[in-house]
Amino acid sequence: MIKFSQVTKAYAKGAALTDVSFHVPKGEFCFLTGHSGAGKTTALKLIYISELPTSGEVRVSGFSSGRISPRDVPRLRRRLGIVFQDFRLLEDRTAEENVAFALEVTGARRSAIAPRVMRVLTQVGLVAKAHQYPRELSGGEQQRVAIARALVNEPVVLLADEPTGNLDERATRGIFQLLRDINAAGTAVLMATHDLDLVKGFPGAHLVELQHGAVAYDSSESAAEAEEPAP
């Protein structure tokens, strides 16, 4: 569903990704780890086509980086949910309005919006705070609003770029559990993080580690190798 094939992304000051290949199948939970500057954020940007690869191909839910037209980019993004470390909420709108905003921009009917917003706010456990503004919410609660906004369009995959980076330990655990619940309900999750404790907390998950813009470790490949009979 997300497939990187020999992807290189070069900027004027050097390559951010070099010959990166990995695959995230439907419904999977995948960690993308590495130190800051390893290329995690660049990889996510290539998935939601904020950037295009210099060479190689990124395939996402039927769209290919090589053939996608600018008109198709919004259609692709409606199939993705994106969450950031800094939440990126609109400060002058309530939690409910922030979530509804994601439906409004897609032209959803107004009568359909309210029930869907309530459903996802219930899912992230924030119904009681639906009418509060971001500044009235804690960091963990703000991230829950952001996750609700990412979920409201029923994405096939949730992309999370260091979603717990700004949170204390308790909020981190809460958000991580929420992401696991979302994954258990069938949505693939690709989570970029440098927090190895989280990775250890979910041993069954797919793990891709980036180092200096290249894939240093991919758990699905080592699993495949282990299954091959020794010569």
Binding site: P74, R77, E104, N153
Partner: protein
């Protein structure tokens, strides 16, 4: 309420000072344009009434038979430039002189013979009341051998033409200059609004808003600011007109249609400004 309208209202509410500033700037540039328009409208109307009086008068030789004159008048009537031909006989000319020039009445009374010639007064069609067409008709009239002399005030007709051309040219140049200024001002306010709302636009894009969707509130914003600016400019023009009319000289204001056209022009300028600005600046957000 429709989302686009709501976003636009929010844009005004969020940056009321900036919005008021851009409406006022638009209003003032359109106001200056409007003042010039008022001057043009009034000059045009005055010149129109002066142009009414552009006519060619052919004085006839004494003793030209009436039938000859009648035949010639019918011919002249058929000229493409001519609206009407009036034959003023010697007696009619004298009667008119007595009526219109009372201070000379005694002289006209004392004369044994009528000193005034008969004439053909030729009115041109309104759109052809200019020096070139008057000269053309005058030239043709000189071709009749019973015509003694032709007058059409060639000097002042030419001056009138010249004045009208200058007024038209200055109007177009100044109008274009102010239209460009208004487009630049609106473009700048829209660019400021785009930068002001860069965060929001980035989020709209992330959740899958199309370019058209992102653009629409800004276009509506520009349109509304332009319309408000246009309306304010018409009000300011009316104030200026009322003062001139009351204290300086009798003037005319725009017709309702012209005022509405002015407001619409403001709206179009606003729309043009946002279109020019938004295409370039949305990409950089």
């Amino acid at each position: 309420m429709n989302l686009v309208v709501r976003e636009t209202v929010l844009a005004f509410r969020r940056a009321p000072l900036l919005s008021a500033l851009s409406v006022t700037t638009i209003a003032f540039s359109l106001f200056v344009f409007g003042l010039f328009g008022l001057v043009t409208v009034n000059v045009q109307r005055v010149m129109g009434s002066v142009a009414e009086r552009v006519e060619v008068v052919a004085y006839l030789r004494h003793g030209t038979p009436d039938e000859t004159v009648a035949t010639a008048a019918a011919d002249v009537q058929a000229f493409p430039e001519v609206e009407s031909v009036t034959h003023v006989s010697e007696e009619a000319a004298l009667a008119r002189a007595r009526r219109e020039l009372p201070e000379f009445r005694d002289i006209f009374q004392q004369q044994e013979a009528n000193p005034l010639p008969a004439s053909l007064e030729i009115r041109l069609k309104p759109e052809l009341r200019d020096a070139r067409h008057a000269a053309l008709v005058a030239e043709r009239m000189r071709g009749f051998d019973f015509v003694d002399d032709v007058r059409y005030g060639s000097d002042w007709v030419a001056k009138l033409d010249h004045l009208r051309n200058i007024a038209g040219a200055v109007g177009v140049v100044v109008g274009a200059a102010f239209a460009i200024v208004a487009v630049i001002i609106i473009g700048t306010t829209i660019r400021m609004a785009v930068l002001h709302r860069g965060h929001e636009i980035a989020i709209m894009r992330l959740v899958g808003a199309t370019d058209g969707f992102v653009r629409r509130p800004f276009l509506l914003d520009g349109l509304i600011k332009g319309l408000l600016g246009g309306a304010l400019a018409v009000l300011l023009c009316y104030g200026a007109y009322a003062m001139v009319d009351a204290w300086l000289l009798k003037a005319d204001f725009f017709t309702t249609g012209e005022s509405l056209a002015g407001i619409a022009a403001g709206g179009l300028l606003g729309l043009a400004g946002s279109l020019v600005s938004i295409g370039r600046h949305l990409r950089s957000v």
